[in-house]
């Protein structure tokens, strides 16, 4: 399988001081030679060295550059790699890339450098997945979590669990292979406790997957409320600029606006919706219907109430819609005379709860003023508390951020459950190791480690057998 040479801009497309074009593949040096003018040909320099020179497209000098030459296999991808550090802005970097592409490289697909690194055995599966997450991660939390996975925290955690599983399997197996030397009497009970502990650890990791998803993909947030309750104003405050058109006229927002905002290190994908009310206007009506759809699928609903006006049947409709969602209620326009106080709102919510048979006692109700930007920081704190449990912030906790890992963990947890079932059903000990080994293998799939001779080696290293 001959690998062609790929290239891409490996820094963000911002007007930063330096932009890097990375080329990887067996033709990387050849391509670079064609466009680089310096003291020596790059194909003749040793690996892991830096060279000063110019990049030219034909006779045209594009930029003054530093070129880093790294030879296989000691590179990220495991292939010959050239990195061109350009000094120009976005435009120049793009020109340099185009020139590289004209001279023997093709554009890299998203994640292709990582894929090559994996295929060349430079990283295990969980590491390469983490790099992919890193590339596409959106928030600081996700970034941190990817970094942790990359450093092997996930691998260490999984390995720890695997070690425990294989120790117990090896003990059972050594007794089966050498029944006259090693006895399993009473072992079931001991293993049961251990199996439940292991299951709990795995389940914790699975639970982290949901947080992991939120960190990586952001919180799907929908702002709802009656027309002119101040939904768009809130969005503008949160995003910091006038994204939505704000007017005094009810029903100004007729469609749905989407905005991505950064809040306490979390990403909120905020959808501002048309105000929900009974309306004859067809376009507005469509907007209202879509608002209801969005609210149903959201991770978080922000219900904005105009506290200067009385609640009416439209509010009741909204409350019915959101009472089984994770919700924050904002009593807006605290700068005006407040008619709807927190107490009034609580009472209303309680009625809604009775009507729907739901418990809504812990729905946070905050008083804000979008106009004065007061109460906004309390709101941000509340969101953070709701999604990131107090104990986990920028620390070393591990989050499962991808579906393959999650499903492997679920398999492992299920297998451990079967171990407990077998123990409870009074099955003989050899049945335990069937599911123990399944769990071991599922976990191995996360780190890309296969079973091989692990069990045999564990048996011999830990237990004394033999004639």
């Amino acid at each position: 399988m001959k690998k062609d040479t790929i290239a891409a801009i490996s820094t963000g497309m911002t007007n930063s001081g330096i932009g890097i074009v990375r080329i990887s593949g067996s033709g990387a040096l050849r391509t670079a030679d064609r466009i680089y003018k310096g003291k020596r040909k790059l194909s003749e320099v040793p690996g892991h060295t830096i060279h000063y020179g110019h990049i030219q497209d034909g006779d045209e000098v594009l930029d003054e550059v530093l070129v880093m030459v790294m030879r296989a296999p000691r590179t990220f991808t495991g292939e010959d790699t050239v990195e061109i550090n350009c000094h120009g802005g976005t435009f120049v970097v793009r020109r340099v890339l185009e020139t590289v592409l004209k001279n023997g490289a093709r554009p890299a697909e998203p994640g292709e450098f990582t894929k090559r690194a994996f295929l060349n055995g430079k990283m295990d599966l969980s590491q390469s997945e983490a790099v992919m997450d890193l590339i596409s991660s959106q928030s600081d939390y996700a970034l941190q979590s990817s970094m942790n996975q990359l450093k092997g925290n996930l691998k260490n955690k999984i390995s720890g669990i695997r070690d425990r599983i294989i120790y117990h399997t090896a003990f059972i197996e050594s007794a089966l292979d050498d029944p006259e030397h090693i006895s399993l009497d009473g072992y079931g009970e001991k293993l049961r406790t251990e199996a439940e502990e292991i299951m709990e650890e795995i389940n914790k990791l699975i639970a982290s997957a949901d947080t992991g998803k939120i960190m990586k993909e952001g919180i799907q947030t929908v702002i709802v409320g009656k027309p002119n309750a101040g939904k768009s104003s809130l969005l503008n405050v949160l995003t910091g600029y006038e994204r939505a058109i704000v007017t005094e006229i009810e029903g100004t927002t007729r469609d749905v606006l989407e905005e991505e905002i950064r809040l306490q290190g979390l990403n909120l994908n905020v959808i501002d919706t048309a105000g929900i009310r009974n309306t004859e206007d067809i376009i507005e009506k469509m907007g209202v219907d879509r608002a209801k759809d969005y609210a149903r699928n959201a991770d978080l609903v922000i219900y904005v109430v105009d506290s200067s006006r009385n609640l009416d049947e439209n509010d009741e409709k909204i409350m019915d819609l959101i009472c089984d969602k994770r919700t924050i209620i904002l009593l807006n326009k605290s700068d005006l005379d407040m008619i709807v106080t927190e107490d009034v709102m609580r009472e209303k919510m309680r009625e809604t709860a009775l009507r729907n048979g739901k418990n809504v006692d812990d729905v946070p109700i905050l008083v804000i003023s979008a106009r004065d930007e007061s109460g906004i920081s309390e709101f941000e704190e509340t969101v953070k508390r709701m999604f990131i449990k107090g104990e986990i912030s920028f620390n070393d906790e591990i989050y499962i951020t991808n579906a393959r890992q999650k499903s492997a963990l679920q398999d492992a947890a299920e297998s451990m459950g079967k171990v407990v079932e077998s123990i409870d059903a009074g099955m003989p000990e050899d049945f335990y190791s069937i599911d123990l080994m399944d769990a071991y293998e599922s976990l191995g799939n996360i780190t890309g480690e296969s079973m091989g001779e692990d069990l045999i080696n564990e048996i011999f290293s830990k237990f004394c057998m033999g004639k």
Binding site: M1, K2, K3, S26, R116, F118, L119, N120, G121, D124, L125, T169, A170, E173, L176, D177, D178, P179, E180, H181, L184, A425, G426, M427, P428, E429, D430, F431, S433, I434, M437, G448, E449, S450, G452, E453, L455, I456, I459, F460, C464, M465, G466, K467
Partner: protein, 630 residues
């Protein structure tokens, strides 16, 4: 060192197959080819050592018992012979699940050896020849015959190497070493060089055996008696179960103690293992007593089993205390064990070193990849144990015959039998020690039970030609009856009659609140097919062995189905064949180590490739991508 002092002459007896060695592998190999109609000669350094058991006096044991059953199901001989010559028998792990039940019999060593020799002597097409083979003759990468120490050349079309521990064998204890095979028998010192000249890579392995002690010098009152099972189960599916209900002899259990360990520790410097005088690699599963003391310093005692070597000798085997310590230390060490205070040693414990091959040079038919027609089996392939040897000998014999018949080889996969696991491991995985079969090596052991070896393999034995028509028809009948009875039991409804509730109570089982099927009741851990006989009015009269199958089929149904799904997954990768002409060097993304390993082993399938140590899951992904883009 090429021996050429003796003048060469050609023996004109016509043979198709030459088997080198008449141990447990050689006997099965020679019997298989002869029974399949090929004129076979089996060479041995001593006719008196045919089917010799130079180490432990038993056949079977955990997972090894499975092998014996499988050999029998395929038409091999070991099971028959041990059924006629055992002096004690036990079903190990009988309190565990059916997958790990395993038969182990104490053999009368001399009887066993004599009985097997008789089978060989009576076998049509089979000649026994006492002579050391020194050379394998080959032309153009194809075997043409063998040459013996006396200079005689035997022309044949296939050769099966079953040299056991005899190649350049050296026995060692303390600073004493003798260049002999086991039991002081003559070693075979020339063949290794001939094999090397054929381009075969050799390893040097080591194993050991404990002392034999005169039973008249043992005080059994200080030991625990170990009796055989009350009801003995035969190894062979063809043995009449009533014929094995004999008077059994006992074994005895005692323990080492702190004094024993002190003696060993203070003399470790005199052990050839620790001084470096032994270069071969020893097995981890069969450690010498000095190994155990060093490796497990926290254990204050180790078990010692005293086992008779036969009915017509006073020699007793000291299981658990193999050693290569000097003779004087051996005396002190053994005599520190309760009951052995006045022990008289008949034969010293010793370690033995021998040449064997890196079995990754073999195809999974046990034929050498680089020498056509040359097969090998047994300890020569880097395994250990009589049962492992017999299993390989049988398969090597079958496949040598298939080759001469112009038929495709018979390869059992890991889901078909322990034999499949054994051979796949040997030809695929790197091993630095003699390989022993273990139940934990078999991924699908719930399906690979000793009780169903005939159902798994006898059809194959029939197709090969080692199972006769009558036995085959009996098998088909058995299969049908099990199937019908399993189906019936799943259908039969059981009501809540007083008789039923009473029976359930008598086994400590919760009474029924409403009716259920017989199968549901069988699944309760405290119940079984047999126990429910009283309330099963329509039950047909079927043999015990079939009742056992019905019980297992029903009781472990859920687990069995899961295991079968695993097998399906496994088969998917096994069925992804790798073309023979694949050029691994061309696949750039493979790591260098993986390329080397793949080039060396040349696996037949992705499945086999995935089991090679040094080939990572990432390499397998690369291979899959490469194959799909070819």
């Amino acid at each position: 060192m090429k021996y050429s002092a003796n003048s060469v002459w050609e023996n004109k007896d016509e043979y198709d197959v030459a088997v080198v060695g008449a141990g447990h592998a050689g006997c099965e190999a020679a019997l298989a080819t002869a029974r399949l109609g090929f004129r076979t000669v089996v060479f041995t350094v001593s006719v008196d050592s045919i089917a010799l058991m130079p180490c432990n006096p038993n056949i079977g044991g955990s997972s090894k018992g499975h092998l014996v059953r499988e050999v029998d199901a395929l038409g091999g001989e070991m099971g028959n012979v041990i059924d006629r010559t055992f002096i004690q028998s036990k079903m190990l792990n009988s309190s565990k699940g059916p997958a790990v039940h395993s038969l182990r019999a104490q053999a009368d060593k001399a009887d066993y050896s004599r009985a097997m020799r008789q089978v060989l002597e009576d076998q049509e097409n089979l000649d026994i020849r006492q002579m050391e083979v020194t050379d394998i003759l080959a032309e153009n990468g194809k075997v043409t015959g063998v040459r013996t120490y006396s200079g005689a050349e035997y022309r044949c079309r296939a050769v099966i190497l079953c040299t056991g521990t005899y190649l350049k064998a050296r026995c060692i204890y303390g600073d004493v070493s003798t260049y002999t095979g086991p039991n002081g028998l003559q070693s075979a010192n020339y063949l290794t060089d001939s094999l090397k000249a054929l381009g075969i890579r050799m390893y040097r392995f080591k194993t050991g055996t404990p002392a034999r002690i005169d039973r008249n010098s043992i005080d059994f009152s200080k030991m625990e008696e170990q009796k055989g099972d009350e009801r003995v189960v035969p190894f062979s599916f063809t043995t009449d179960p009533e014929s094995v209900q004999i008077d059994q002899v006992s074994c005895w259990l005692t323990y080492t103690n702190k004094e024993t360990h002190d003696i060993i520790r203070s003399n470790l410097d005199r052990s050839p293992l620790f001084s470096g005088a032994i270069e071969g690699t020893g097995p981890r599963y069969c450690p010498s007593i000095e190994d155990k003391v060093v490796k497990f310093p926290d254990k204050d005692r180790h078990q010692v089993f005293i086992e008779p070597e036969g009915k017509h000798t006073t020699e007793m085997y000291v299981g658990g205390m193999s050693s290569s310590l000097p003779e004087d230390v051996q005396y002190a060490m053994y005599r520190s064990v309760p009951g052995l205070e006045h022990a008289k040693i008949v034969r010293n414990a010793y370690a033995i070193e021998y040449d064997c091959i890196d079995a990754r040079q073999l195809k999974n038919t046990l034929e050498f990849k680089n020498v056509e027609g040359l097969f090998s089996g047994g300890q020569f392939n880097g395994s250990s144990g009589y049962e492992e040897a017999a299993a390989q000998g049988l398969m090597a014999g079958i496949n040598a015959a298939r080759k001469l018949q112009g038929k495709e080889g018979v390869v059992l996969d890991r889901s078909q039998g322990y034999i499949g696991v054994l051979i796949d491991d040997l030809v695929t995985k790197e091993s630095h020690e003699p390989y022993r079969m273990m139940t934990s090596r078999a991924e699908y052991r719930l399906l690979l039970r000793q009780d169903n070896a005939d159902l798994r393999l006898t059809k194959i034995g029939y197709e090969v030609g080692l199972i006769d028509e009558e036995r085959y028809q009996n098998l088909l009948e058995k299969e049908k009856m099990i199937e019908e009875e399993t189906a019936r039991v799943s259908r039969v409804n059981i009501g809540t009659s007083d008789q039923v509730q009473e029976l359930l109570r008598s086994f400590g089982s919760t009474p029924l609140s409403s009716g259920t099927t017989l199968a549901e009741l069988i699944r309760r851990p405290e119940l079984s097919y047999e126990k429910l006989e009283e309330i099963d009015k329509e039950r047909p009269d079927i043999p015990i062995s079939m009742k056992e199958q019905v019980n297992i089929n029903i009781k472990y149904d859920g687990y069995i189905k899961r295991q079968m799904r695993q097998v399906e997954q496994f088969k998917k990768l096994e069925n992804k064949k790798i073309p023979e002409d694949i050029n691994y060097d061309e696949i750039q993304s493979l790591r260098i180590e993986a390329k080397q390993k793949l080039n060396q082993i040349r696996p037949v399938s992705i499945g086999q490739a995935s089991r090679i140590s040094g080939v990572s899951p990432a390499d397998i992904s690369v291979l899959l991508v490469y194959l799909s883009s070819r």
